[in-house]
């Protein structure tokens, strides 16, 4: 009996350890190719829209899209369980090292651009903040809205979880104002919410709250803050226009990572994503097309 149990356990370990990674090759026999696509919650809606359209045009391709955060996507790429990892931040050096140790060679593709909007409840009278003020709010130096020209209310800081690329980007660009030496951290009482929806739900009902989220995800009933890069500078609202002319301070590239230069169906898919037709969808969803650099009508 003991042997049987051991056999059962062993076989289940083996099954789980060699399962993933080979989906694309295995599926080509049955005339349908699978692409596993996972990562950033910022990109998930965009990736879904692309996948839907692409599958409509190519019925023999199956694309499965899941969210979970940029860290999750990159970890899956490192562990070899996905073909494409979506990330709203660049891959970190440690992650590249871990990937190489696993025999994976991450290759970066910029697929769109995004602005991070800082959002508050519409009841909050504050309309504009400088980047420095937002940094001080999130690091815990400013704790009451009246210090930045609002009502006498405590500030409730909302952030995404640490596995979110948006979280890391916000930390580096806003809290640390882009300085590498700066070791400022989020104030410990910052609420870390597991999803964009959590942040939006809390900001919608709580006039004390401040949050941030990708421009494409901010619903109309929340108020976006106009942001100035430094004191005395112009306060700018996030929009496609202001991201492209670089006047809005918190904008970034969005990435997809593959293992090595893409080949076969994955390459065809990525080429299609960067073509004008797919980039049109980017704009419809409130992101900024990656093609803006090239001359387009």
């Amino acid at each position: 009996m003991k042997h049987i149990i051991m056999l059962f356990l062993l076989s289940s370990f083996i099954l789980t350890s060699c399962g993933p990674g080979t989906s694309a090759e295995a599926a080509s026999d049955s005339q349908a190719a699978y692409i596993e696509n996972k990562g950033s919650d910022t990109i998930v809606n965009l990736a879904l829209a692309w996948a839907e359209k692409y599958q409509g045009e190519n019925p023999d391709i199956r694309i499965s899209v899941t969210g979970g955060g940029s860290g999750t996507g990159i970890a899956s790429l490192i562990n070899g369980t996905v073909d494409i990892a979506n990330a709203s931040r660049q891959i970190k050096e440690e992650e590249v090292d871990e990937a190489k140790a696993n025999g994976i060679e991450p290759v970066e593709h910029v697929i769109a651009r995004d602005a991070i909007a800082v959002i508050v409840n519409p009841e909050n009278p504050v309309n504009e903040l400088t980047l420095k003020q937002i940094s001080d709010i999130y690091s815990g130096k400013i704790n009451n809205w009246k210090e930045v020209g609002g009502d006498d209310r405590p500030i409730v800081r909302l952030s995404r979880e640490t596995n979110s690329g948006t979280h890391v980007y916000f930390l580096e660009t806003v809290l640390r104002l882009g300085s590498k030496e700066d070791k400022t951290l989020f104030s410990t009482d910052t609420l870390l919410l597991p999803s964009s929806e959590g942040i939006i739900a809390e900001v919608r009902q709580n006039p004390n709250a401040i949050g941030y989220d990708g421009l494409g995800y901010v619903p109309d009933d929340l108020k976006m803050i106009a942001i100035a890069k430094e004191e005395g500078g112009a306060y700018v609202l996030p929009a496609i226009q202001t991201v492209n002319d670089k006047s809005y301070a918190i904008a970034r590239d969005l990435y997809m990572y593959t293992d090595g230069e893409p080949t076969g169906v994955v390459k065809e898919y990525l080429d299609w994503i960067l073509a004008p037709e797919a980039q049109q969808i980017v704009e419809e969803l409130g992101f900024v097309p990656a093609l803006a650099l090239s001359p387009s009508p």
Binding site: A75, E161, T162, N163, P194, A201, E202, N206
Partner: protein, 298 residues
């Protein structure tokens, strides 16, 4: 004929024996796995860092104290709600309610126990937390207290169900004896029935607490997940981050084998030890109570 019967006996006995042993084997394997993945933490992270009060794993701040206190305060709050409510309900159903009421209440409570925790989490985010923020005038409604209320709600059906069974198992003669001696209904319940069902009621409480400390989805949705050290009484009304929510939120992101990965398993180990401690404490109390009861009866 004789022989085939023997064979059948043999196989059935062995099957039952195996399923009995397998429970032990699985627990041992799980514990071994936790140890294997969690213990490297002690070599990779300095103990001063582990005992720190800052949890920010992506910059190598691995202080697990805020998480432990967060879990404890939410669980304590949940127990304070679930125990009186659960045992009260059990007493009502078992001792006071008329038969027809009892036949409606018991299935209803059990139905409540089947509610998926994620549904309660939604209720918490959309209804309970906005209400608590306005009602208690808090900066935010996503607090340990919100988590405690919901966890209490989750634990109540477990407590009721087990405690009611225990009360029900107390022989009717005990109550009749008490009444014959002139005890009132309340005196009978408090002095006779409840003490007689003590071990079952304690089991009910422990199961309820166990359900609360291990619950993940609901607390992740409603407690705000801010890794603040929760040692003051006021911490109950501010956001906290629990061990379970931390593991659930961060396990997906880590590359297996990294320090962060080991620390998450280490937290799992701590959680395992805490619930083991609770269980051992409970069963030793039950054991002592049993011995005493035997002495009296003999």
């Amino acid at each position: 004929m004789e022989k085939s019967l023997n064979w059948r006996e043999f196989i059935i006995t062995r099957l039952i024996q195996t399923s009995g042993y397998s429970a032990i084997v699985f627990v041992a394997l799980i514990f071994f796995f936790l140890l294997r993945e969690g213990l490297p933490t002690l070599g990779e992270v300095e103990s001063s860092s582990l005992l720190n009060i800052r949890w920010y794993p992506i910059e190598d701040h691995f202080g697990i104290f805020p998480l432990i206190t967060g879990s404890l305060i939410v669980t304590l709050g949940a127990a304070l709600i679930a125990v009186p409510f659960g045992i009260g309900t059990a007493i009502y159903i078992s001792e006071i309610a008329p038969r027809w009421m009892r036949e409606i209440l018991k299935p209803l409570v059990e139905l409540l126990g089947g509610l998926p925790s994620v549904v309660l989490g939604f209720l918490g985010i959309l209804v309970l937390s906005p209400f608590l923020r306005v009602f208690l005038d808090l900066p935010t409604g996503l607090t340990a207290f919100t988590g405690s209320l919901l966890l209490g709600g989750i634990a109540v059906p477990t407590v009721v169900s087990v405690a009611e069974d225990a009360l029900d198992a107390v022989p009717r003669a005990y109550r009749e004896g008490a009444w014959a001696l002139g005890a009132t209904r309340w005196q009978t319940i408090w002095r006779v029935t409840l003490p007689a069902a003590r071990s079952g009621v304690l089991t009910a409480i422990m199961l309820g607490v166990g359900r609360a400390i291990g619950e993940t989805m609901t607390v992740m949705m409603v407690t705000g997940n801010a890794p603040v050290l929760a040692v003051k009484l006021g911490s109950l009304f501010s956001p906290v981050r629990t061990m379970t929510a931390t593991i659930a939120a961060e396990m997906g992101e880590v590359a297996s084998g990294s320090t962060h990965y080991h620390v998450l398993f280490f937290i799992g180990m701590v959680l395992f030890l805490i619930s083991l401690g609770v269980n051992i404490a409970a069963s030793s109390v039950v054991f002592r109570a049993k011995k005493r009861a035997e002495r009296i009866l003999s």
